[in-house]
């Protein structure tokens, strides 16, 4: 009897957890230009299970849709950090940041100003 209860409870447990094939998530990622955009989105999409990634240059907001059975936001975030982009919660390592193209050095104000000039 106990075993049956066990199984039933386990099953209910797993149905409750029914993981979403198209889970949505968002986070703030630092960057400055369209090149950053493609780098950030590529880093996300290169994570197995990520289906869709859209980063907004102006708001720095990244939206992702991913398969929860295969990945999670932490994994995606670590990919972004590895690509050299800071997130709201964590900073990319200096090594990773060093790999970012010169025009994308978003930590420097000069680069931001250059891009703003460009917009005008």
């Amino acid at each position: 009897m106990k075993q049956i209860i066990c199984i039933v409870l386990m099953l209910t447990g797993s149905t409750l957890v029914a993981q979403n094939k198209n889970a949505k998530g968002s986070m703030e990622v630092d960057g400055v230009c369209m090149m950053c955009k493609s780098r950030i989105e590529k880093a996300c999409l290169n994570t197995k299970g990520v289906k869709y990634a859209q980063w907004n240059v102006d708001t720095h907001q990244l939206s992702v849709i991913y398969d929860e059975r295969k990945t999670n936001l932490e994994a995606i975030e670590s990919r972004i950090l590895a690509a050299g982009h800071d997130t709201k919660n964590a900073k990319a390592t200096d090594e990773a940041y060093a790999k970012v193209h010169d025009c994308c050095k978003y930590r420097e104000q000069v680069v931001h100003d250059a891009h703003d000039m460009h917009k005008e």
Partner: protein, 747 residues
């Protein structure tokens, strides 16, 4: 041990027994009205658990007792942090705009014509600003400031300007309105003049084979005209145009919303020209007199929350033209030899429905269904030649969009159905035919988000007269360095040639019509099949600190089979299937440069080598210049702080090299033409004064240097004689023409 069991069992429920909090984020306002703020970020401090508010500002967020601080942020607003003590109480919070920050306006100027650096296909997008550069009265005239499309000079009979792309005439271009093939079959000859310029929101020109989604017929390229959307267009728009040749046009748009989800638009167009002109004194009118009434009613249904968009459009057209000798009176002289005259009456009715669904949760998944029915009736005579055509057409296309694994791999797949009924009456002969086809297509696009993308498509069609066939098409784009795009494409196209509808100018000649061939299924002829190959290179640059770009395009069209239109015997027009080779090679180089603020310069050189093996040997296609030069300059005055008024200046120069005349060797000497036409250069210019966003006036001139072809009609002195021919038009017939107009809008 037992305890451990229970703990394990309880674990999932503990982890997943998340509570939720809900709430609404609003924009602070004086009256404290609940104006929802869409897209605001809501997240728990120092966690990754967050969400974005929906269109009404609402949100749902998982809650855990250890979460205390809720952060709400949005660009342009002060970020707030709330302490949540009672998760059961919905959160209502007003965000205040950041007051120390002046409103940021980004003033990147979008070019009015732009080639994409990113798409696999060679697409030139023309927006409404570009369309205003010439007071284009209809779609055929709106290509005048675009070097990728060549606009021919109107002949004296139809008064309609034909377009060419890659050296090939418009039947080889798939012309669609909102992705529904529309200018085909019976409307091929005059269809472009049946779409008023003010109705057009933007135009996309694809050079080369193009996508397989819209059918198998395109050979040289595709042109898609997006019409105005009732939800976006002004509430009221009026455009009035008058020209020195007494052409008058009136366009009125009325748009209104019905409820929150329905929008309706009523677009009225009337144009008229009722004055006989004969500047070259050949006793023939230089352009037809005409009246056109064109009505479009659109209904748009938008439900962004659930991802639905639908359009229902009804269109009605009535067009009458009269041309010929000045003394021709249709009431007494119709179909007699009293005087040579022609009348063309067209009635057309169209209904189209579009239905689109985008899954609001999964942005890559969408479904589109397009259906259209049109009925086209043209009754006409040209001297003693009678030509009547009735064409009923049905089109249905269903497209499903999705991705494979992730959004870098996109697919489009679907089914299409077409039905065409033609009934043509040519002098004494009646030609009737039914065409129907069922097809399936699949298109795969890959985009690595940086250097490379490609679109590979294939469709399989079953057609009652063209048989079963496969249409493959491929487009690749590669950008090895900054601001560059190398493109390559190839594709196949197949179509049935509507020999009379596409070559209606033949009726305004005394040529005998011969169709040589009997084994084929369309007028005894076989369908046309061609392969198109293209290479293109686009490079953006900065010169003296100003932006520009340069393009090189090579395209080659190779006909496997073609219905050859042979004008080489001046007494006859012969239609037969190609034996030997027929090709169109084209090269175009185009430079766009912005030498100083608000001044844009565009220059293009085009080279065409278009040849066909006629029965009499390989010759260049008649009236297709080998060399063309194009230049367009436009300047706008600066928009002053707080003022809406400005001036706009535009000028377009076109130069055409010599054009080959179809042979007239067999004619008596007095009716013979040289082998080649002289070169032609024309200049158009327009000035627009914008008074405000509501009102502007424009003044312009076409062919301002008053270039004229003096004898456009061969044998004009004896129109019922053996040598009458009005098809040798290589330049403007009517000299310079000036126009003025106004535009008025209420948003």
């Amino acid at each position: 041990m037992k305890i451990l069991y229970y703990i394990i069992l309880l674990l999932p429920s503990i982890i997943y027994s998340q509570e939720k909090i809900s709430g609404m984020i609003m924009e602070a306002n004086e009256k404290n009205e609940p104006i929802g703020l869409a897209g605001a970020n809501v997240y728990w401090l120092d966690t990754e658990i967050g969400t974005v508010t929906d269109i009404d500002g609402g949100f749902n967020l998982s809650y855990d007792p250890k979460f205390k601080k809720l952060v709400i942020s949005y660009v342009g607003f002060k970020t707030d942090t709330l302490t949540v003590s009672n998760p059961n109480q919905p959160i209502r919070h007003w965000l205040r705009p950041t007051d120390n920050l002046d409103e940021v306006t980004v003033t990147t100027r979008k070019p009015s014509t732009a080639r994409s650096y990113l798409k696999a296909q060679n697409i030139i997008n023309v927006n409404s600003d570009e369309l205003l550069k010439a007071a284009c009265c209809n779609l055929s005239e709106s290509f005048e400031t675009n070097p990728s499309i060549d606009v021919n000079f109107a002949d004296a009979i139809s008064g309609t300007r034909q377009i060419k792309m890659l050296g090939l005439t418009s039947p080889y271009i798939l012309i669609a309105t909102e992705n529904i093939p529309s200018i085909r079959g019976a409307s091929q000859a005059y269809g472009l003049s049946f779409i008023p310029g003010t109705w057009v929101e933007s135009i996309q020109i694809t050079k080369g084979a193009g996508s397989v989604v819209n059918g198998y017929e395109s050979i040289a390229g595709q042109i898609n005209a997006e019409l105005l959307k009732p939800s976006k267009d002004a509430k009221l728009f009026v455009n009035l145009y008058g020209a020195t040749n007494e052409r008058l046009e009136l366009n009125t748009h009325l748009n209104t919303s019905v409820g929150s989800k329905w929008h309706s638009g009523l677009y009225l167009h009337g144009s008229t020209l009722n004055q006989k002109h004969d500047v070259n004194h050949d006793n023939f009118m230089d352009m037809p007199m005409y009246d056109q009434i064109n009505v479009l009613n659109r209904w748009q249904y938008t439900d962004t929350e659930n991802g639905f968009v639908s359009f229902l459009s009804l269109k009605f057209l009535n067009d009458t033209k009269q041309t010929g000798e000045l003394n021709f009176n249709p009431d007494t002289d119709k179909l007699t030899t009293n005087a040579w005259g022609s009348e063309i009456d067209t009635k057309r009715f169209e209904i189209s429905g579009k239905f689109g669904y985008v899954n609001p949760n999964i942005p890559w998944q969408s479904l589109g269904i397009q259906t259209a029915y049109s009925s086209h009736e043209q009754n006409s005579y040209f001297g003693l030649n009678i030509y009547d055509i009735t064409h009923h057409s049905l089109y249905a296309n269903a497209i499903y969009n999705s991705i494979i694994s992730d959004s870098r791999h996109k697919i489009k797949t679907g089914l299409s159905y077409t039905y065409d009924y033609y009934d043509e009456f040519v002098n004494t002969l009646d030609f009737k035919r039914n065409e129907n086809s069922v097809g399936a297509f699949f298109e795969y696009s890959y985009d690595n988000l940086e250097l490379l993308n490609l679109t590979a498509g294939v469709r399989v069609d079953h057609h009652n007269l063209l048989g079963n066939f496969i249409t493959p098409r491929l487009h690749v784009r590669y950008s090895p360095w900054r601001k560059s795009a190398f493109r390559a494409s190839f594709g196949r196209g197949k179509r049935s040639a509507n020999i009379f509808a596409e070559n209606q100018q033949l009726f305004a000649t005394s040529r005998a019509i011969n169709i040589i061939g009997s084994s084929g299924s369309i007028y005894g002829l076989h369908p046309e099949i061609a392969w198109n190959y293209g290479m293109s290179y686009l490079q953006g640059f900065n010169l003296f600190g100003r932006k520009g770009d340069i393009t090189f395009d090579f395209y080659k069209t190779d006909f496997v089979d073609q219905v050859v239109v042979d004008w080489e015997n001046p007494q006859e027009i012969n239609f037969y299937n190609l034996e030997g080779k027929s090709f169109a090679n084209s090269f175009q180089t185009e430079v766009n440069y912005n030498p100083f603020e608000y001044f844009d310069l565009r220059m293009a050189y085009k080279y065409y080598d278009v040849k066909t093996d006629y029965n009499s040997g390989r010759r260049a296609r008649p009236l297709t210049p080998k060399h063309r030069f194009f230049a367009n300059a436009s300047y706008k005055t600066e928009l002053r702080e707080g003022k809406q008024g400005r001036w706009k200046f535009d000028a377009t120069f076109n130069w055409l090299g010599e054009q080959r005349f179809a042979s007239t060797q067999a004619n008596p000497v007095s009716y013979q033409l040289p082998d080649y036409s002289p070169t032609v250069a024309t200049l158009n210019a327009q000035i627009t004064k914008v008074f405000s966003s509501k009102f502007e006036i424009y003044l312009g001139g076409e062919n301002m240097t008053n270039v004229k072809q003096n004898n456009p009609i061969l044998g004009a002195d004896d129109p019922f004689g053996a040598n009458f021919d009005s098809t040798f038009v290589f330049g403007p017939i009517f000299g310079s023409m000036y126009y003025a107009g106004l535009r008025f809008r209420i948003e």
